[in-house]
Each structure stands twice: as C-alpha cells, then as structure tokens.
C-alpha cells in the first residue's frame, strides 16, 4: 500500500483553514480591487512564496542525502547585491559592475546566488565535504559577505520597478506567488520530464550503486546545489523588494530551517532518495497557514514557534513508517 506524501499536508491545511473559517466567517472572503485579489488565503500564499522557493531547491538537495544550510545567507547576499547595484552607496564592493537596468540587476544578483550554490556544490560534490559542514561555511560567512558588500549598512531603495517583485501583482495575483509557481514548474519539468529526477533519487538512495552504474553523482550534486542557490537568490530578491531594503543581518534569517521543515512535512525522507516537490510546496504553505492563523488570532509571536514545532512533530510521526505500520496492525 503506497500513500501519497501529499495526504497529510493537505489534510492539515484543510483543517487549519476550516478552523479559521469557524473562528472568523470572513476568513475565506476574497475581494477584487485594482485588478488584483485581496484576502487571507491570497495572503498566506504570498507570504509563503519565499519559503516555497527555498523548498524547491532544498527538496532536491535533501533527495541527494544532503542539506543546504546556506540558503538564508544566500538570500541576504542576493538582496544586498541588488540593493547595492541600484543605490550604489559609498564603499559598495561591486561598484565597478556595469549593471544599471533592473532586469540586469536581477540577473546579476541571481547569478551571484548561483555562484554561491556552485561553491557549495564544488565542496560537496568534488571535495566530498559533508553537506552540513560545507553549507555551514557559507551560512556563517555568507552574512559576513553580505555585510561587507554593503559596508555594514542597511541599504534602502525606492525603485518601484524592483519593489514590484515583492509587492506588485500580475494577472490578479501578487507577483511572489507567480514567481514561486513558475520556479516550481520549471523545476518540476526539469526533474520529471528529463532523467534528472531519477538520477537525483538514485544518488540519494544509494550513492555507491549510483557510481557503479555510471551516474556522475558529482555533477548532479554540483547542479543541485547551484539550483538551490538560484532559488535562494530569487527568494532573497522577493524579501528585499518586499521591504524596499537589503538587511544583511536579518534577511532570510532562519528561513533555511523553515525550508527544511517544509521538505520534511512534504514527506521527503531526510535520508535521501524519493522526493516530492509538490509535497514540499504544500509543506511551506502549511507552515505559513499556521503562522498567519496564529498572528491573526492575536497569539503572541513566541508561541508561533512552539506551535510550529508541535505541528512538525505530529506530521512527521504520522508519516513515519513505524507509526504507519501500527495503524495497519
């Protein structure tokens, strides 16, 4: 009997939404104003977008049996690069970069995020460092790098075109939702319409056997950590655009853990092997649904973290093979 990994996150999302509906009959209310939808449901998706993006890369990383702790720091780097290129403050390290239009600035920031991921991939795939150690390097030094880039300042900017990445809307929905969905779709096509997903699962399931059948696990890992870096870079741009500022210290702080939790909630094993991108996306939405619920109920923020933890324990137990067996027996 094989159960879909999507089952539990879906049930829980449904339960939480239902709970909200009971507490606040207007919770599902969606209004249409200025060519876009507003409402709590839209808000949950919008807020979940950065973690959804991170969880796409994180799912692939975890499927290879690794973990990427550096995604929060990469978000900060991408935000700082973009803000720096727009504002060009005194002491900005990349001041000589001839990039001035918003599209090229976005590309430059994402490219630097990709380089960060590539660095992780080299350490893990080729130098064979343990993923947790290798990405810890950038997790710690990445924020330092972001601060160096911006000379320790929080750079604020006022470019409406760039801010639209985080606060604008297209085709009736906020842009972050579209960005997250597009990235997820591209990733989904990449892994399921090519053999990339199969190779990833093979490397994660049994790395020695993967070597023995001629799969180049080094280049697979290199590609996957680079993808994770790109996802983090895009998430970093959204986060910066949202507040019209690059805060090297706080942008994306602890989000790597949220991303890992989303993947776990989505039913992908931390040991590597089988993975589910859709599960991870639902996991990210579930966590945001809980957070939003707690905030709108006026529960103190401190309690959010504990409630989240309880939720994670519950879902992970529900999905663990031992408990599944007990239920059957």
């Amino acid at each position: 009997m094989r159960k879909s990994p999507l089952l539990w996150p879906l049930i829980l999302i449904g339960a939480i939404l239902l709970l909200n509906l009971v507490l606040d009959p207007g919770f599902f209310h969606i209004t249409f104003r200025d060519g876009r939808f507003y409402g709590s449901l839209i808000d949950i998706l919008n807020r979940a977008a950065p973690v959804m993006l991170l969880s796409v890369g994180m799912t692939l990383v975890i499927a290879t049996g690794g973990v990427d702790l550096s995604v929060g720091a990469i978000m900060a780097i991408a935000g700082s690069v973009a803000a720096g290129l727009m504002v060009r403050p005194k002491g900005f390290l990349l001041a000589s970069l001839p990039v001035h239009t918003i599209p090229t600035i976005v590309l430059a920031a994402v490219a630097i995020a990709a380089l960060c991921g590539l660095f992780n991939g080299l350490l893990i795939g080729y130098a064979k460092l343990q993923p947790i150690v290798a990405t810890l390097i950038l997790m710690v030094s990445g924020r330092g790098l972001a601060q160096l880039l911006t000379d320790g300042q929080i750079i604020t900017f006022n470019d409406p075109a760039f801010a639209a990445i985080g606060t604008g809307a297209s085709l009736t929905l906020p842009n972050p939702i579209w960005i997250a969905l597009c990235v997820a779709l591209v990733a989904g096509l990449l892994v399921r319409k090519t053999a990339f997903g199969l190779f990833t699962e093979a490397v994660g399931d049994n790395p020695r056997a993967a070597d023995g059948v001629g799969i180049d696990s080094r280049s697979i890992k290199l590609a996957i950590y680079t993808i994770s870096g790109v996802c983090a870079g895009i998430a970093g741009l959204i986060a910066a655009a949202d507040i019209k500022a690059a805060d090297a210290n706080n942008a994306g702080a602890m989000l790597e853990l949220d991303a890992i939790l989303s993947v776990a909630l989505g039913g992908t094993s931390m040991a590597g092997g089988r993975f589910s991108l859709a599960g991870s996306l639902l996991g990210a939405i579930l966590m945001q649904a809980v957070t939003t619920t707690i905030l709108t109920r006026g529960v103190p923020t401190e309690a959010t973290l504990i409630l989240k933890a309880l939720l994670v324990v519950g879902v992970c137990l529900a999905q663990s093979p031992t408990w599944a067996k007990r239920r059957v027996a």
Binding site: K193, G214, G273
Partner: protein, 498 residues
C-alpha cells in the same frame, strides 16, 4: 535423554494471501546439527522466526525438552534457552569484544558495570567456541570470522539449549568456515542442539547430522545427512530432477570471436598483481581463488574503480586508464559482490532499477518514457523470470535471487559486450543459481563475454571457458575450461606448498 530436545508440530503461519508454513513439523535432538534447507520462499526463515518468537504461529505446538513453550519475542526465546545468530551480524564494531558479548546484559554491581566480570564472562563464552582472543580490543580489530564467532558467543547464554544459525557462513572464506564448524562441533558435543541454515551445499554436507527440507511452506521430509546424496538433496529441494543439468564445461568456438578485454601483466599498487588474460566474445573467464585472494580486486581494476598502475590493458580496443563511466560506455557491465551496499537502489521501483543503466548511458536529457520503461521492465521480468506481480514495487521488497536477476537485467538492457559477475550467486537459492548459470550460458553462446567470480568452485568450473587462478593477491595460473574442481584446488594448494 529420551525424546527430542525440541519439537515443533503442525506449525501453520499465514500471511495475507499466502500460507508461509503449512502444518510443518520439525524435530531437533540434543547433540546434533540439524540443517534446514529449501529454496527462498520455502519457509525456512518463517520457521526460524516462529521458533525464536518473532512470529506467533497461527496453529501448532512448540515443545522444548517436553515442555510446551510460546516464545513471544527473541529475548523471551533466549530466556527459554533458544539462542539465535543471524546472517547479518548486528554488532557494534567500535565496542570491545567483551562489550559486544555482554551487550544488554552487562553484569552490574553497586557502581555500575563490573568490567572485570564482563571480560571474564566474554572469555568463558568465547572459550566454549575455542576462541582465545583479547576481549578488550575493539571488535573491528578482528576478522569477519572472529566477529561471527563473537556473535555466536553473544547468542549463547549459559543456559542455551538450542542455537539457531541463520546463514552464518555467507561472508566467510573456507578456512573461516572451518573454524566456525569446529566451534559448532564443540557445542554439539556438549549436548546442544543446533539448527543450521546455509545455501552452500558443500558446507551442509560437511556439518549436518540431519537435514529437514521444506518446499513452498510444506515439509518435504527429514533425512539422515549421510543417506542423502547431493543430487537427491537438490531435487528434493526444487521438486524437479536435475539430471538434465549440463555437466561439461562450455567450449569457446575460436573461429568467429573477437578480443574484448586484454590484460597484460596488470597490477594495482598495493592490491593485486600479475593479472594476465584475454577475454574474447563468447568467453567466460572464471576467476578461482579463496576469499581474499584478490578476485574482487581484479574485477575492480577491470571496471575502472581502481587504476592500472603497471602493465597494459585494453577494453574494446581502448587502452586503460578508464573509469567506470567510460567502460560502461564501451559496453562493460558489473554486478557487484555486495548486492545491497553497491548494487540495488532499495527505495526505487524494480522498473527504475532495471532502466537506470540504459538511462545513465543516454544521459539525463533524453529520458526513458513511462511506456518504454514499463515495456523494458516487463520484458526483463519475463525473460529472467523475476518473481514479482508488479514492476512498480520497490526492489528492496524482493528476495535476494530476484534482486540479482534485476541487477543482471539492468545491464542486459544496455546490451553489454562484457559482464563482470562478482559472486552473482551468493545468498540466493539453488533454483535461482541454476537459472543464472543457464542464463550465462545462453548469453555466452550469443556472443557476450563474462568474467565470473564465485566462492563455489563447482560453479566456476561448470561455467567457464578458461579459469584464472588467484592466490595471495596474485594470478598464479591460467587453466583451460573443462578442468575439474579438484584440478583447480590442486593448483591452488600445490603452488602454496612450493
């Protein structure tokens, strides 16, 4: 002692959709080694699990020394006097030998564990098996054989009357098996009853007093070992007569075969040396030698895992150095010795496990579609007679023999010129062994080449067109096909004396 030590009568164990044990009787006398035989799925492990309290039988009775018992767990069974040692040794390699022997039942005093007494107890337990080693050293400092004996010492509580040994020899070489058998005989002579399971026919003949055969969950019968010829044994197990089994070695027709692999005095620094052979299409090069003689190392060099540090080697016209990816591209395949650790992707489906080599050769950008995948899998499953209802099942759920067939299928799907088979028949039942031997011969006749390593010399001489004899990490001789097992053994020992 009057009456049997252990008596299982009318044991029935059902699982959803299958009767694993159908009114099976089993009797064990004190002071005997009683071997349980049968193909995979015959019910051996189910019977052992009933005996050791892992499964609760649906019907039937277990009597130990005349008392009815109902073991509810392995720990409970051990308390009752039934110890067990399983194929896969579950010991802690970094703990000391003494700690391993006493793990979970350490002698305790007021101030925690009494280390001296623990060492004492371990020494006594090992002494019973004829092993005298420093019990303070970590387990990993000793050979696999000693580790196996430590596992037995662990299974031997002072009060144990029955000891179950489930394939204890599968990772041991001949001399290590010998020392295990010495230990088993000591226990037997102390009046213990031993239940032994092994796939190695030679070992079964060497050690058994009696043999009980199971087939498809039913009892075939219990026999005195000395009255049972190997042929009878095999045909009782598989339920068909193997008189039609080909007994002459295959011969290579020299006329139209091209050179596939050529090794000229090849060595890998610190591993093996003197590898010198030529493999043509339609050849089966058997590598004979004891465990540790360098067989697997030779295979590793062929497949490009280890480099050629001296001598010259070519595969398919291309000179080494080559890595696995390259040799695969040029048409080599490799079934590794350790199927679980190096071969299967346990959580991927059977179909994916079959398609993976073909896919890896194609590259990630040209995926095998779902229809092609299903066809490929179904075809392989039919061709190789893999026993599974559904190619979407995880390969980890298959028996060892079927996993091995899937691993073969994975390479055959890529149509290789040369297959390296490192112990392809280890741990699989006799029926599947014959099937794999037949498959090799069939493919050989169609022009595929093989390098075949097996601990069972009989299999090597049976399948090979030429044999490379290895000893002490060196190739010491080449022999033509058609020689007997004794010829090869003589070669190995003769060189040793000189």
């Amino acid at each position: 002692m009057s009456g049997p030590l252990l008596q299982l009568s009318g044991i029935v164990k059902r699982f959803p959709g299958v009767v694993a044990l159908d009114r099976v009787d089993f009797e064990l006398r004190a002071g005997e080694v009683h071997t349980l035989m049968g193909e995979n799925g015959a019910g051996k492990s189910s019977l052992l699990k009933v005996l050791t309290g892992v499964y609760k039988p649906d019907e039937g009775r277990i009597e130990l020394a005349g008392q009815v018992i109902q073991p509810s767990s392995p720990a409970h069974a051990a308390e009752l006097g039934i110890g067990a040692v399983y194929q896969e040794v579950n010991l802690a390699p970094n703990l000391s030998v003494a700690e391993n022997v006493c793990l979970g039942r350490e002698p305790r005093g007021k101030f925690g564990i009494q280390w001296k007494q623990m060492a004492n107890r371990a020494e006594i337990a090992l002494g019973r098996l004829g092993v005298n080693i420093d019990v303070h050293r970590p387990l990993s400092a000793y050979s696999i054989a000693i580790q196996q004996l430590v596992a037995i010492a662990r299974g031997l509580d002072v009060s144990a009357k029955v000891l179950v040994l489930d394939e204890p020899t599968s990772s041991l070489d001949a001399s290590e098996v010998e020392s295990l058998f010495v230990a088993m005989k000591r226990l037997r002579d102390e009046g213990m009853g031993l239940v032994f399971v092994s796939h190695f026919l030679q070992q079964v003949e060497d050690i058994s007093d009696r043999i009980t055969i199971l087939r498809n969950g039913k009892l075939v019968g219990a026999y005195e070992a000395k009255d049972l010829s190997r042929k009878e044994l095999v045909s009782l197990m598989i339920g068909r007569d193997f008189s039609d089994l080909q007994t002459t070695a295959p011969v290579l027709s020299e006329t139209q075969s091209s050179e596939v692999l050529s090794f000229k005095n090849v060595s890998h620094k610190g591993s093996v040396s003197g590898l010198d052979f030529t493999v043509r299409s339609g050849d089966v090069l058997g590598i004979a030698g004891l465990l540790g003689s360098g067989r697997t190392e030779a295979i590793r060099i062929c497949f490009g895992f280890d480099s050629v540090s001296d001598g010259s080697a070519t595969f398919n016209g291309v000179s080494y150095p080559l890595n696995p990816k390259k040799v695969i591209k040029h048409g080599m395949g490799h079934c590794p010795e350790d199927r679980k650790a190096d071969g299967i992707f346990p959580n991927l489906s059977i179909a994916e496990n079959i398609a993976i080599v073909k896919q890896a050769k194609r590259g990630w950008f040209r995926p095998i579609g779902s229809k092609e995948l299903r066809n490929l899998a179904d075809e392989s499953i039919r061709d190789l007679k893999v026993a599974t209802p559904d190619s979407r099942k995880k390969i980890g759920e298959l028996s060892g023999g079927n996993q091995q067939k899937v691993l073969l299928a994975r390479w055959l799907a890529a149509n290789p010129k040369l297959m390296l088979l490192d112990e392809p028949t280890r741990g699989i039942d006799v029926g599947a062994k014959f099937e794999i031997a037949e498959l090799i011969e069939r493919l050989r006749q169609s022009g595929m080449a093989f390098i075949f390593v097996s601990s069972e010399l009989t299999e090597v001489v049976h399948s090979s067109t030429q044999i490379a004899v290895m000893r002490d990490r060196e190739q010491i001789a080449m022999m033509p096909g058609g020689v007997t097992k004794d010829d090869v053994l003589a070669k190995i020992s003769e060189e040793k004396a000189g």
